[in-house]
C-alpha cells in the first residue's frame, strides 16, 4: 500500500537459530499523513469524551459548593427535608440508600454466585448458552418493569413474610416494626400497610436489577478456572462441590468480590424501581421492614420539580455525593476484576 513508510527492515542476520540470542530490532516508523490524522483525530475524540465525562463530575461538585455554604455541615447531619422551612439534609436519604443497596446485595449476591456456579459447573453444556442469553436479556429489562412487578405481584406476598419476620424476630432492631405485630391477622388492612413500601421490599426490585450484572461478571471469572486442576480434584475423588470449593472458588474469589461491588455500584444509583415501590419518608431508622424510607436517587426524582434554585443546588449536592459513591465503588470493583483476569476488561 502506498504512503506508508516503514523503516526499511534490514534482513536479519539470525539465520541460524540458537547461535546468538535474538534481540528484537527496534522498529522506527514515521506515520504517513493519513495515519497522523487518524491518530490525532481519535486522540482528540478520546479527550473530548474525557472532558465531557469529567465536566459532569466537576459541574456537580461546583454546584454543591453554594449548598454547603448555605446549610453548612448540617446538610450531612440533618435528616428532614422541609424546603418550606429551609431545613434540608441528606442524612436520612443517605442511610436509606445504603440500606436499600445492602439488602439488595444480600438478596442478589448469593443468588448470583449460585447461579454463576450453576452455569459454569453444573449446567449441561447444551443449556449453558441459553442461560447466558437469558442473563443478558434480564440485564436489559427496564427497571420500571421490575418496579411494577414488585408492586403488583411480590409486595402482597412479601409483606406476609416481613410481617412474620418482625413478629418472630422483632427483638432484633433490624426486624422491628413500630406497629402492633400481634394485631389479629384478619383485621389487618389488606396488604399490611405498615409493611408495604419498606426499604426491604424496594430492594427486591433493585436486587432483580443488579442480579444479571453480578452473575455475568462472576460467571466469566469462574469459567476461567484451570481445567487441569479441576480434573485433578475430581481424579482425587472429590465430589463436585468439593472440587468447586477447593479449585473454582479460590480461583474466582476476586471476580466474585469485584462482581458484587460492580453490582453495589449499580444498586446505589437505581432510581425508578425504588421510586415506584417505596413510600417516601425522611427518617433515620434501622427498621428496614417498616413502611417508609427514601434514597438519594428517589429524592432527586421526587423533589426536582418544585425545587427553588437553592434547593436544586442541594439536590445537585446530593447527586454529587451519589456520583462519588458509585465512582469509588465502581473503580475499586473494576480494579479487582481486572486484576483477577490479567488485564482484560470487564463485560457490562
Amino acid at each position: 500500500m502506498s504512503g506508508d513508510v516503514l523503516a526499511p527492515a534490514a534482513p536479519g542476520p539470525t539465520g541460524v537459530p540458537g547461535e546468538v540470542e535474538d534481540v528484537p530490532r527496534r522498529l522506527t516508523s514515521r506515520h504517513s499523513l493519513q495515519d497522523q490524522v487518524f491518530i490525532h483525530g481519535s486522540r482528540a475524540i478520546g479527550y473530548i469524551v474525557l472532558v465531557i465525562i469529567s465536566a459532569i463530575g466537576i459541574f456537580l461538585g461546583l454546584q454543591a459548593i453554594p449548598t454547603l455554604r448555605h446549610y453548612g455541615l448540617s446538610f450531612f447531619t440533618e435528616y428532614r427535608w422541609l424546603p418550606s422551612q429551609d431545613v434540608i439534609g441528606i442524612a436520612a436519604v443517605f442511610t436509606g440508600t445504603i440500606q436499600v443497596a445492602v439488602i439488595a446485595m444480600l438478596l442478589a449476591v448469593p443468588l448470583a454466585l449460585l447461579s454463576a456456579l450453576f452455569i459454569s459447573e453444573w449446567a449441561p453444556p447444551w443449556l449453558r448458552p441459553s442461560l447466558i442469553r437469558i442473563t443478558d436479556l434480564m440485564a436489559a429489562v427496564p427497571g420500571i418493569v421490575f418496579g411494577l412487578w414488585v408492586l403488583l405481584f411480590i409486595q402482597p406476598h412479601a409483606t406476609h413474610v416481613t410481617h412474620w419476620l418482625s413478629k418472630t424476630f422483632g427483638w432484633i432492631p433490624f426486624f422491628h416494626v413500630r406497629t402492633d405485630v400481634d394485631y389479629p391477622i384478619w383485621s389487618q388492612a389488606p396488604g399490611y400497610p405498615a409493611y408495604a413500601g419498606s426499604a426491604a421490599i424496594a430492594s427486591i426490585a433493585v436486587a432483580m436489577m443488579i442480579f444479571p450484572m453480578a452473575t455475568s461478571v462472576m460467571r466469566e471469572v469462574l469459567s476461567e478456572a484451570p481445567l487441569g486442576e479441576k480434573e485433578a480434584a475430581l481424579a482425587l475423588g472429590a465430589t463436585r462441590w468439593a472440587m468447586v470449593r477447593t479449585v473454582v472458588i479460590p480461583f474466582g474469589k476476586s471476580g466474585i468480590i469485584g462482581g458484587s461491588m460492580l453490582a453495589l455500584g449499580r444498586a446505589l444509583g437505581e432510581t425508578i424501581s425504588v421510586v415506584l415501590v417505596i413510600s417516601e419518608a425522611f427518617e433515620i431508622k434501622p427498621y428496614v421492614l417498616e413502611s417508609g424510607a427514601s434514597t438519594i436517587s428517589a429524592l432527586i426524582a421526587s423533589k426536582y420539580k418544585e425545587a427553588t434554585p437553592s434547593q436544586l443546588s442541594a439536590l445537585l449536592a446530593a447527586g454529587f455525593l451519589l456520583f462519588c459513591m458509585t465512582l469509588v465503588v465502581n473503580t475499586v470493583a473494576a480494579v479487582i476484576v481486572s486484576r483477577s483476569r490479567s488485564g482484560s476488561v470487564t463485560e457490562l
Binding site: 500500500m1 506508508d4 506515520h31 493519513q34 495515519d35 481519535s42 486522540r43 475524540i45 478520546g46 473530548i48 469524551v49 474525557l50 465531557i52 465525562i53 459532569i56 459541574f59 454546584q63 449460585l114 450453576f118 452455569i119 459447573e121 453444573w122 453444556p125 443478558d136 434480564m138 436489559a140 429489562v141 427496564p142 420500571i144 418493569v145 421490575f146 411494577l148 412487578w149 408492586l151 403488583l152 405481584f153 406476598h157 406476609h160 413474610v161 479441576k230 480434573e231 465430589t239 463436585r240 462441590w241 446505589l268 444509583g269 425508578i272 415506584l276 432527586i300 426524582a301 436544586l312 447527586g319 451519589l322 458509585t326 465512582l327 465502581n330 473503580t331 473494576a334 482484560s344 476488561v345
Partner: protein
C-alpha cells in the same frame, strides 16, 4: 505412528497446546437408590409441609410455604442421604439443591415478571387503537377504545435514534482510540470511561436538567431527553466496543502491517470489518439498556399527551415515561394502560435481543 491411524492430512500436530474449550467429563452418575432418595425426599417434604403449614399452623402465605418447603426438603434429603452415604456426599447434594434452586428462583421471577405484566396489560393491548392513537383529550378513566400510546412509541423512537446518533460515533471512536492507538492518554480515558459506566442515570438526567433546562433556558423537549440518554449511553457503548475490539486477533493486525498497511488502513480495512458483528451486538445491547431508562426522562422530557415529532420544541412523551405517569396516577383504568405500555416496552427489548441473535448468526456464516 502406526498404520491404524487416520490418513496424515487429519493428523494434528502434537505440539498444539490444549485449548480451554475442552469439556470436563461429567462424573454424575445416579444409581437407582439415589433416585429413590430424591423422589422420597421431594414427596415427603411436600406432604409434611402441607400438613404443617396449612393444617396445623395458622399461616396461608404461598411464598412462606415455598420457603418452608425448601427447608424441609433439604432436611429430608440430607437425612436420607446420610443413612447410606458419608458427610461429603451429603454436603455435595445439599449444595447441588441450592445451586439448582437459585437460578430456578430467579428464572421464575423473570417469567412471572413477563407473564404478570402481559396479563395485566392484555385487556388494553387487544384494542388496536392503543397503537395508533395518542392520549390527547382522553380522560384517565375513559374506556380502552379511546386513546393510545402512538405518541409515546414515536417519542421513544426519536429520542433513542438521536441518542444513538450522538453516542455511537463517540463511543466507537473512543474505543478505537483506547484499543488501537493506546498510550498513556488512552489508559487515562479508559479509567474514566470504566468509572463512568456506573454513572447513575438520575445524575445524568439532573446534569442535563440543570445545564440545559435551568441555565440555558431550553424547554423540556425530546432533544434534552436524547442528550441525557446519550450522556448515559456513551461510556457504556465505548466500553462494550472496546471489549469487542480487544477480541480481534492480533495476528490480523500484524498481517496487515506486514503487508505495508498503515494504522488507519489497518483499523478501517481490517479491525473494524472483523469486529462489525460484535460492534453491532454491542450497539443493540446499548440501545436495549437506553430504551427502558426512565429516570433521566422524568426530569427533562416532560410527558406530553399529544403527538409530537419535533424533538426541539414542546414536551415529548416516551414509553417508560408513559408507564410511570400512568402507574403513579392512581387511576385503575389509566394504570392498566401503563401495564400495557410496559408490555410493549418489554416486547421492544425482547425484539432487540432477537435482533442480536441474527447479527451473531451472520458472524457464524462468514
Amino acid at each position: 505412528m502406526t498404520a491404524t491411524l487416520p490418513p496424515p492430512t487429519e493428523l494434528r500436530p502434537v505440539a498444539v497446546p490444549r485449548t480451554t474449550t475442552e469439556e470436563v467429563r461429567r462424573p454424575s452418575h445416579r444409581t437407582p437408590e439415589d433416585r429413590i432418595v430424591l423422589v422420597a425426599a421431594l414427596a415427603g417434604s411436600v406432604a409434611t409441609t402441607w400438613l404443617l403449614y396449612f393444617q396445623i399452623l395458622p399461616y396461608s402465605s404461598k411464598l412462606g410455604f415455598v420457603l418452608v418447603w425448601y427447608a424441609v426438603f433439604a432436611l429430608f434429603y440430607g437425612g436420607l442421604t446420610k443413612m447410606s452415604q458419608p458427610w461429603t456426599v451429603v454436603t455435595d447434594r445439599l449444595v447441588t439443591t441450592l445451586v439448582i434452586a437459585a437460578p430456578t428462583v430467579v428464572g421464575l421471577a423473570l417469567l412471572s415478571t413477563v407473564v404478570m405484566i402481559t396479563l395485566k396489560g392484555l385487556p388494553v393491548l387487544l384494542h388496536w387503537n392503543f397503537f395508533t392513537e395518542d392520549m390527547a383529550g382522553v380522560r384517565a378513566d375513559d374506556p380502552f377504545t379511546k386513546g393510545g400510546i402512538a405518541h409515546a412509541i414515536v417519542g421513544t423512537l426519536i429520542q433513542v435514534i438521536i441518542a444513538v446518533v450522538l453516542a455511537m460515533p463517540f463511543g466507537v471512536a473512543t474505543a478505537v482510540y483506547m484499543s488501537e492507538v493506546g498510550g498513556r492518554g488512552a489508559r487515562l480515558v479508559r479509567t474514566f470511561v470504566e468509572a463512568m459506566t456506573a454513572l447513575p442515570s438520575i445524575v445524568a438526567g439532573l446534569f442535563i436538567y440543570t445545564v440545559f433546562l435551568v441555565y440555558l433556558g431550553m424547554p423540556s423537549s425530546g432533544f434534552a431527553a436524547a442528550l441525557a440518554l446519550s450522556v448515559m449511553a456513551m461510556p457504556i457503548m465505548a466500553r462494550a466496543s472496546y471489549v469487542v475490539l480487544g477480541v480481534v486477533p492480533g495476528g490480523l493486525r500484524e498481517a496487515s502491517y506486514a503487508l505495508g498497511a498503515g494504522k488507519w488502513q489497518t483499523v478501517w480495512r481490517v479491525v473494524l470489518p472483523t469486529a462489525r458483528p460484535g460492534l453491532a451486538t454491542a450497539l443493540i445491547l446499548g440501545v436495549a439498556r437506553v430504551v427502558g431508562e426512565t429516570s433521566p426522562l422524568l426530569l427533562v422530557s416532560g410527558a406530553s399527551t399529544y403527538f409530537n415529532t419535533d424533538p426541539f420544541n414542546n414536551p415529548m412523551n416516551s414509553l417508560p415515561l408513559y408507564v410511570y405517569t400512568a402507574v403513579s396516577s392512581g387511576n385503575p383504568t389509566f394504570e392498566e394502560r401503563g401495564y400495557a405500555a410496559a408490555t410493549v416496552l418489554l416486547a421492544v427489548v425482547l425484539g432487540l435481543f432477537v435482533l442480536t441473535r441474527f447479527v451473531a448468526k451472520e458472524k457464524k456464516s462468514r
